[in-house]
Amino acid sequence: MATVFIPALLRKLTGGKDRTSATGATLRELINDLDRQFPGFRDRVVEHGDLAGSVAVSINGEVITGGLAEPVPTDSEIHFVPAIAGG
């Protein structure tokens, strides 16, 4: 079971819940589970079959690079954050 923190602007989908538990061996499976729990969640973070360009995912404090195929360790802490480049 991973702990997923819900972005503030998506909490309408979760009835205000700011975190939830979800299962999935990969990020794709995890997002599918979130979409089951909170219909519409997937469309907010996935675009043409990949993570939306504006979204980055942090697993246990590290921004991941594997996209939807990224493995999700059990009991990990997951955050959806804006993607940042830099100068």
Partner: protein, 756 residues
């Protein structure tokens, strides 16, 4: 990874940079220095209006001028459809990119490119541009975020809807996107506060101000292959962007990165490259385009002006109990300000239970913003760090002690949520506290009032993809090939990392910055990533070379590779100490040992180590004129591991100088027509050496656990604290809280007079 404890032989020393002699003798070739047989010179026609519909463009007179070989407009670009495509580390909308390169149906800002000409001399091209007739229908324009967010504001892009908004809407809007971070309970937090401070801030649009204007030379060949020479922060990024907007395969374009005269984020987007390529295609000749300084300021990618509201509460013990932030950033004419980064950085140095941060990306009739050194963080810090100074002052707590009480450490949740791994923020606060500067009494200056201010800053730093090869030469030296344009000494840092692994001297490693056909994909030089990520690739490639060397030695000794060790540039056989060889000896024997050795690696590393900085500044304020002089400046920073300390110091000193300019004088000054009135170095006032003191640096090395050598990015975070630190120093000097950037003499004088 274990090597952090290792004693380094090369890393941490200060060798002369490998490209140094070329750069002090004038031999280094920057983009504008490229010359080719039959070279044509191009010029760009730009909009005089902030917002207008293009009714017609007549290029016939220009095309007819003797010496003119090609003229292009947006009609020469392929039709693209709107939609974001991921491009390496960047998400881009090719349609918007194309609309920015040459205006389609509307011009959206003063200086927006409309057409381009190639001719046999720059003077003829300039005359030709004047002969292009454009009929405009001038539209109402909007240039500040608060007006642009209003219901009845002029709309820049009809197809824009607010992405990230809680509910989908079909209304036209200038709000391109929205972001929020929230946790805890604000009401509870503010109730628990003994004191609450709330302030509004306005910061001006500012430019990176690199001294070298944008440039591009393009040669299109009849076989559809093209070569572009340009000063860019990312040869591959430039190539991919050109492919997207021109609708041709990226692989048909070779980008040769010329030496680059500064970028700071502003030379990641493309402006001239596709125009030069289209002009070359039309004329059949190589074409060079070089911007004037005015074009650079009017039409490249400055960093946004912003409106920021900060409300924070703290208790008597000095603990921040709640923080609420609202910020709107100018995107410019197309979506994509760094407001997300602003929201993620503004409170990042602190451990906060109750917070809400709202950010808005707002279209205005100004140039499309681009990255600028810790994009979005500096103007945000102006808000939070001055409010924190006020809280500390009202509670009678030393501002550095206040930061120590609230400072983030390993395990602290960032405003965006994720927990920090090992970071060195508190170390920078302690270093500032213990600095000779902070312990010294304030200097006296006759006729002026003096004050001391402090502020902190945060930047994520970036990872992204890098490739490197390390080839062993027959004389036992090595060549390091990377795809990272060297903007401030990264050839040296990459060579030093390879030298460290191979047991060579820094001078025995020759770094090369390769074109897009000579090295694996490498993302842009930006995000303070080169020494971290490209350095990572170089480290891995050098290790690969070491493994090959061990195998070659094993072959020579008829031993098993695992019986061979490599240390300090010597291979030796563990089972029998007799046999050992220096890298130089081995290199000479390679033809008999299985052939040349070439290590390679490509990486997309995680474990990016964020950077923190805390700065101390003394200012003298002339209460009559409002002029602020910087008397003394000290910058402390967690630099992870300083590979070449001189260039780390240089990054810090240069960023401080840019921060001082941002704080005191730099700003985009538009008139009521929406025309930029200070599009030159005369009135866009970057600091000269007479405006700055020596800049003291304190490097703190908290190794990044995510990097084999402990490296963190260092280039960006030092620009974050200066404006806030200077504002805090001005307050201590004259007792007024400045809430606008720049804090130019008229504003400071007004504030001081109003206080009296």
């Amino acid at each position: 990874m274990a090597t952090q404890e290792a004693k380094f032989k090369v890393i941490g020393t200060r060798p002369i940079r490998h490209d140094g002699v070329d750069k002090v003798t004038g031999r280094a070739r920057y983009g504008a220095d490229i010359n080719l047989p039959g070279l044509l010179h191009g010029k760009v026609l730009r909009s005089p209006h902030a917002h207008a519909r293009i009714k017609s463009i007549d290029v016939s007179a220009a095309a007819a001028l003797p010496g003119v070989k090609a003229v292009i407009t947006s009609a020469d670009f392929p039709k693209l459809k709107s939609g974001v495509v991921p491009l390496g580390e960047l998400a881009m909308n090719p349609l918007y990119m194309s609309m920015n390169l040459l205006a389609h149906d509307k011009v959206l800002y003063d200086g927006h490119a409309v057409a381009a000409v190639a001719a046999t001399s720059p003077h003829i091209a300039e005359e030709a541009v004047k002969l292009i007739k454009v009929e405009y229908e001038v539209l109402p324009h909007v240039q500040d975020v608060r007006s642009a967010m209003k219901e009845d504001a002029p709309i820049l892009l009809p197809d824009v809807r607010t992405s990230g908004a809680p509910e989908k809407s079909d209304k036209q809007t200038n709000i391109a996107s929205q972001v929020r971070f929230a946790r805890g309970d604000l009401d509870v937090g503010f109730k628990a506060a003994d004191i609450v401070v709330e302030r509004e801030f306005n910061t001006a649009m500012v430019h990176q101000g690199y001294i070298e204007p944008h440039n591009a030379v393009a040669q299109y060949n009849a076989d559809g292959q093209a070569t572009i020479w340009t000063s860019t922060q990312g040869a591959f990024t430039a190539r991919d962007q050109c492919g997207l907007v021109l609708g041709i395969p990226a692989s048909s374009i070779k980008v040769v990165p010329a030496e680059i005269g500064g970028g700071f984020g502003g030379k990641i987007p493309i402006y001239l490259e596709p125009l030069a390529l289209l002009l070359s295609k039309k004329s059949g000749k190589p074409v060079k385009l070089v911007m004037s300084r005015g074009e650079v300021l009017r039409a490249t990618g400055p960093t946004p002006g912003s409106h920021i509201r900060v409300k924070m509460g703290a208790n008597k013990a000095g603990k921040i109990t709640a923080a609420q932030v609202w910020m709107a950033y100018e995107a410019g004419a197309f979506p994509g300000s760094p407001v997300g980064a602003g929201c993620m950085t503004i409170l990042a140095p602190y451990d906060l239970e109750n917070l809400q941060i709202d950010g808005f990306d707002v279209l205005v009739n100004k140039p499309k913003t681009a990255a600028y050194r810790a994009p979005g963080a500096t103007n945000a810090a102006m808000g939070a760090e001055t409010v924190i100074d006020e809280l500390a002052e009202k509670l009678g707590i030393d501002p550095l002690e206040f930061r120590r009480i609230n400072g983030a450490k390993e395990g602290t949740a960032q405003p965006a949520g994720p927990k920090y791994l090992r970071i060195g923020y508190l170390e920078t606060v302690e270093a500032a506290k213990n600095s000779a500067h902070y312990k010294s009494p304030l200097p006296k200056v006759s006729g002026k009032l003096v004050g001391r201010g402090v502020a902190s800053g945060f930047w994520f730093n970036a990872g992204f993809q890098s490739s490197a090869t390390v080839n062993i030469n027959t004389d036992g030296t090595a060549n390091v090939v990377t795809g990272s344009p060297d903007i401030g000494g990264s050839r040296a840092s990459c060579a030093m990392i390879a030298a460290e692994v191979l047991g060579l001297k820094a001078e025995e490693v020759h770094p090369v910055v390769a074109d897009t056909e000579s090295i694996g994909h490498t993302d842009m030089t930006g995000g303070s990533r080169v020494t971290f990520a490209t350095g990572y690739a170089v480290y891995e490639a050098a290790q690969d070379a070491v493994n090959q060397l061990k195998q070659r030695a094993a072959t020579l000794w008829k031993a098993k590779p695992e019986e061979v060790v490599f240390q300090d540039g010597v291979v030796s056989r563990t089972t029998n100490g007799q046999e050992s060889m220096s890298l130089k000896e081995l290199a000479g024997k390679l033809p008999r040992a299985g052939g040349p050795v070439g290590g390679r690696a490509s990486v997309n590393p995680r474990g990016v180590g964020p950077a923190f900085a805390t700065h101390v500044v003394d200012v003298a304020v002339d209460p009559e004129t409002g002029k602020v002089d910087i008397l003394r400046y000290t910058a402390t920073q967690d630099v992870g591991k300083a590979v070449h300390p001189s260039y780390v110091e240089g990054q810090m000193q240069g960023a401080v100088a840019q921060g001082v300019g941002w704080a005191l004088n730099e700003e985009y000054f538009y008139d009521e027509k929406g025309t930029l009135r200070n599009a030159g170095f005369l009135d866009y006032r970057v600091p000269t050496c007479l405006d700055l003191p020596m800049i003291e640096t304190i490097l703190i090395e908290v190794p990044n656990p995510g990097h084999p050598i402990g490296i963190r990015g260092v280039g960006e975070v030092p620009i974050v604290p200066p404006p806030a630190a200077i504002a805090n120093a001005i307050y201590r000097a004259v007792g007024v809280r400045m809430t606008e950037l720049p804090m130019s003499p008229p504003k400071v004088a007004k504030a001081v007079l109003e206080k009296k």
